[in-house]
């Protein structure tokens, strides 16, 4: 049991808070519950919901960011996802896209498959990102800090990395209703120009 567990917000609360601060920025959301929860809280055409290819959310967002340097590109990621695609932290750190904001909901478990523990309780992903070359790196535990730091990152040049420690609560959210090809086309149209 983590010492701070009782005080942490849920991922869904963190998502709702972040979405209030976002408008038309492209957001790439990792597979599993994060995509379902975002879809339930606010379904925007600028959201790319993933259902598979675990570990690749940041890579997809990076591709968008490199081609659209004038748009801030956000990715909503999880601790299991970051661990699986950890090399992408290095690629982002090396390429240093200014318009890249990497948000990680860290609940220390693989929630979608039954809460098996990840290893993010002993491997601080924010420190890994900092060492890899992300310019702004913050670790937050509550809503007020989350709002403050995310607003700050929206104003700054990145790449930025915001690690949000969240509890294991899962919002009652069904599967994303859009078929994958529809998600692709809708997202492409929404981020045009």
């Amino acid at each position: 049991m983590r010492p701070e567990e009782g005080t942490l917000i849920s991922r869904a609360q963190a998502i709702a808070t972040l979405l209030e601060l976002l408008t038309d920025q492209p957001v790439v959301i990792c597979n599993g519950f994060p995509s379902r929860e975002v879809h339930k809280i606010a379904d925007r055409p600028t959201h790319f919901y993933m259902v598979g290819s675990m570990g690749n959310a940041a890579a997809i967002a990076l591709g968008v960011a490199l081609v659209k340097p004038n748009k801030q590109v956000v990715t909503f990621d999880g601790d299991g996802n970051v661990l699986m695609g950890m090399g992408t932290l290095a690629t982002v750190g090396a390429l240093r896209p200014k318009n890249f904001i990497h948000v990680v909901f860290d609940n220390e478990v693989y929630g979608t498959t039954g809460n098996q523990p990840t290893i993010s309780n002993v491997v601080p992903l924010d420190k890994v990102a900092k060492s890899a070359g992300y310019l702004n790196v913050e670790r937050v535990l509550d809503r007020d800090d989350l709002v403050y730091e995310f607003k700050d990152m929206l104003k700054k040049d990145g790449p930025s990395f915001l690690l949000i420690k969240v509890n294991e609560f899962v919002e009652d959210a069904g599967r994303v209703v859009h078929e994958p090809p529809v998600i692709t086309r809708r997202f492409m149209k929404a981020i045009e120009g």
Binding site: G52, L62, V64, L66, E192
Partner: protein, 165 residues
């Protein structure tokens, strides 16, 4: 043998305008040429390269990913659970290591299985030859665009020149 700069020029001429990947010796000349032109985004794993290319595609580019065929194993899940189901085209330029048994032992199994593997997951492919090069690249791009999925151009040793003399 096709010169790397001629090959890259023709790919760009056909509309490919985003390049990423993980190196292989067979692809060395092409990657060197792409780097000279300042258009190559180096990835650290093949699944990451496919992800970056997917993002570039959705942002409006025509992407190509270069990799050794060993990387097909690494990125297979990304191809099947991202590109194939989300209907995202991509030109994959895959070197054919292990085409014969004189190559290093780590390439034997994938070298033999590659064509069947691609058929099994229903990814169209074509082997590049010097005589039909332009037609091969055009077919791969047309097929990828028409079907909205990745298509593989297979590069055997000695078809496109390695590093510049």
């Amino acid at each position: 043998m096709i010169d790397s700069d001629v090959f890259v020029q023709s790919m760009q001429g056909l509309g490919v305008n985003f390049f990423t990947g993980v190196p292989d010796s067979i692809l060395g000349g092409i990657i060197a040429e792409l780097m000279i032109r300042g258009v190559y985004v180096p990835a650290v794993r093949e699944d990451e390269a496919i992800g970056i290319a997917a993002g570039a595609y959705m942002a409006g580019r025509v992407p190509a990913v270069l990799m050794q065929n060993s990387g097909l194993g690494t990125c297979l899940n990304t191809l099947t659970s991202l590109n194939l189901i989300y209907r995202q085209p991509c030109l994959l330029m895959v070197s054919w290591r292990g085409q014969d048994r004189s190559d290093a032992p780590e390439h034997r199994v994938m070298g033999e299985a590659m064509l069947q593997l691609l058929d099994t997951v229903r990814i169209p492919h074509r082997i590049l030859t010097e005589k039909t090069a332009i037609e091969d690249v055009r077919w791969v791009m047309d097929t990828s665009t028409k079907m909205q999925i990745p298509v593989v151009l297979i590069l055997a040793k000695g078809v496109v020149r390695g590093l510049h003399p």
